[in-house]
Symmetry: D2
């Protein structure tokens, strides 16, 4: 992502908790600093990308966080996938300092990040969206405005929850059909021309031998890991609990990916749920 | 369906447990007889369409069933949606009488039946498929060979199970997103260009106001009733229990549609699960 | 069970598909015959004990089944755990032959069978209950009349479904508590004096180290196998589907035990669901 | 609770966000103050009882919170049912001020509160337990030490999750049995002498007509409300997500009580899940 900003001619001020991650940029002549606060001192457009809600809170509100030195009028874009209620909290604190916060979680994986083809789902004040899009457009081919702060997260979480549900559903339907005597390729073809069709069945089929170029064709290597899916489903669960929204299948999908993590699937692509269900009874 | 056979010039021999259903055909000059056995006596290509496994067993093996008078070499096509293991049983009994049995459940609804645009999923001996297709092609634009007897049912059941799961998933994701502040149309658009995309989100969206011409735009009238979906999920459940296939979300979907039937949704389209989940807490 | 009848002085006529199982009785001077029909020819009180619905149908209605030679007025007691609707079907056929059928499934395990301490749940005509109790009382300390034919099965199935649910619930609650820092013995003690108390927590606790003399204290050897629990939950599922009864947790419990069977737990006691949930995420 | 402390001779300093709630105590001559901070200024043993985690944080860390004026060496006991991770956070902040924090959630309902028969589950430093017990013993007949801070909450949450699961399981099993033809009282009797036995079946049976003196005998009035159970299950869900503990049935129970709240059951006792499942299909 940072490299794509460089390619578009933006000078960078970089911080990462793992100094090695910055090496390449230092060698390329970019500034590498020693805390988020230092970034905020030198830059007025900042993009953050963190693994958890706690990490994001630390990066913004921690002892050496962005808020310690943020300049008035700065534009702060958080591309982490975190709890939408945390995004809203951060936005409030940023606003108190006279700056602007937007949440802009990303989808598309490592390949899309490299090629600048990510999708960004952006939440925040609509007037600032053009400014955000200028930057995000360097890294993504799709930059979608979703509404007030937190709605970027909401869109991402809802999509991934539906993705998890339809992936498990595809795995269950394919497995049941195979046990009932259907050929997997034929079954996939029938589903894909019928009302069961979904991205998990027609673009990312979880059954080995049905499609080429997907993780199921490569022993579930690469792709979107089970651990990451379990994390996103945890966020969906939290949001649903907070808003009192019933998610009967979403909850169950969360529990299934949680169990897969504990049974050796944590690093496999999330379509390996087919393999998880498939294991045969042995006597 | 029968009218489309007439249009293609086939003379008909008709039986229905409700005599009124035959009136129109009698007036059009077709033969109406008084039992399935009588049909079998006069015709050597027979299509049956019954609501349950028990009804199908009765029509074939009952006291006045087809098997009482079936002619050698007859082609019997059952278009009911029933338990695949029942289809296999019927096929065995039919074979003993020197005739051929194929299961050919249908999808597409009343509109597609009228316009001859049904999809047939056909299971049975491959050599007989051409003969079956000649007839079924008068009623459906898609006639797919699925494999041995029972696989037509299997394909239909697997598709409808995945459909139920992705419909409930779509309803949960849309509802959660709306409660998190997203506009429903925008959320549907985002899902449909992302990995959450499915037939239930892009063709048959369950949220009123998102699409035109679907049951959700018409108070969930018409379409595919909740009772019928609950019935198909019961068949999926039975098949999964018999083959020891885990269907964690499929089972849950079955229970959800079962509950909806008991809570006033039995005659509404199955996309009304959105309304079922949506009902607000009141104090 | 047969030995306890011998002890009470009843002469036996025995049949088993595995001839070796009869050896001991032959040596003890009891009659061993070569089919269920032969038993029916020689005895007028018959007790059957089969693993599945299909086996029971075969034993009664098969080519050499009991119904081929059953004498008028015979009392036929089926102690198999099978689908209540199959029990009702068998009862009808038996009645046609002028004999009486009762379903009397059993609970208590191998130990209780040996010591004559089984529990029998009996369904059938009330006037015949005394006659059934005379025999069943030789093998069980608890013989409970449940109502019309099939209600014995119904009671057993309902009990085992609730047992499965509360066992999984106990395992989930104990596991969650332990991860939250509670001592397992203390947590069990608190649950058992509170409203979470159940047989699975106070008599058969699934957590190793909490109780002595239960399968969890012995690496989940012995007890009631996961495969058998999965079978009984399949029956509960079928009965619920047939009667359109929602069983949200019962369905889920069924799927969980089904998955455990496929993951190496089939021969372990059903309380091993704690171990199944417990497995830690590894990196 | 406060009255039971008065009865034991403790002078009170009282604050409640609803001033009316303090009226009775003012008239009885107790001190009523205008903020949690004012309580902390005047008392060195403080008991808090709040409905949510957010309320508890406000009462301790808010602008007029206890921590603003807490005295060194004070003992702060929080009897709210909240997220154990919040209890731990509060404990840290309290400790920084040189005071002691314990979590002591309560079970038993309004009746037990009045009669001084509550159960307290206490988490915190063991050396302080005796001091806490002196106070809590005035209000409860059972004061159980559970371990480090947060384990009181953990014990309560685990108990209530298991309670919810076994209550729903009891309702499903009773409903299925009734539909299969069993008499409810007889079925309850059989379960209660078998392995399905649990508090929900033998002490608080959810089926009207089975027991006297329980909410099911009184149209589900009184008892423990569905909204409160949904809240506790939300806490269990959060704790499980945070600790990556799979709770397949616990999650499902959460969703079921969530849906009941949206369908008119929010103020009924949580055993009304039987009624919720029971509603008949109508045509």
């Amino acid at each position: 992502m940072a490299k794509n900003l460089m390619k578009h001619g933006y000078p960078l001020v970089i911080y990462d908790v793992f100094p090695d991650a910055c090496k390449e940029f230092r060698e390329a002549g970019e500034q590498v600093v020693s805390s988020p606060a230092d970034v905020a001192e030198k830059a007025d457009r900042i993009i953050t990308m963190l693994p958890t809600s706690m990490n994001a809170i630390e990066a913004y509100s921690g002892a050496n966080g962005i808020l310690k030195k943020v300049k008035k009028g700065s534009l702060l874009i958080d591309s982490s996938t975190i709890d939408p209620s945390v995004s809203k909290e951060l936005a409030k604190e940023v606003e108190k300092m006279g700056a602007v916060f937007m949440d802009a979680p990303v989808s598309g994986g490592v390949g899309a990040a490299r090629s600048g083809n990510l999708t960004f789902m952006v939440g925040g004040v609509e007037e600032e969206f053009a400014a955000a899009k200028e930057l995000l457009g360097c890294m993504g081919s799709n930059v979608v405005y979703c509404g007030a702060v937190g709605t970027g997260q909401a869109a991402k979480i809802c999509n991934n929850m539906l993705l998890a549900i339809s992936m498990i559903g595809t795995a269950e339907a394919m497995n049941l059909g195979i046990r009932l005597g259907l050929d997997p390729k034929l079954l996939a073809k029938i589903l894909n021309m019928s009302s069961g069709r979904c991205w998990s069945s027609d673009t990312y089929n979880p059954v080995p031998g049905v499609m080429d170029g997907v993780p199921s064709a490569n022993n579930y290597q690469g792709g979107f890991g089970t651990t990451l899916m379990a994390k996103d489903l945890g966020l969906a669960q939290d949001s649903a609990t907070n808003t009192k929204s019933p998610i009967l299948l979403g909850s169950q999908a969360h529990q299934i990916y949680r169990m897969m993590c504990a049974k050796g699937y944590s690093k496999k692509d999330f379509s390996s749920v087919f393999q998880f269900l498939r294991e045969e009874e042995t006597f």
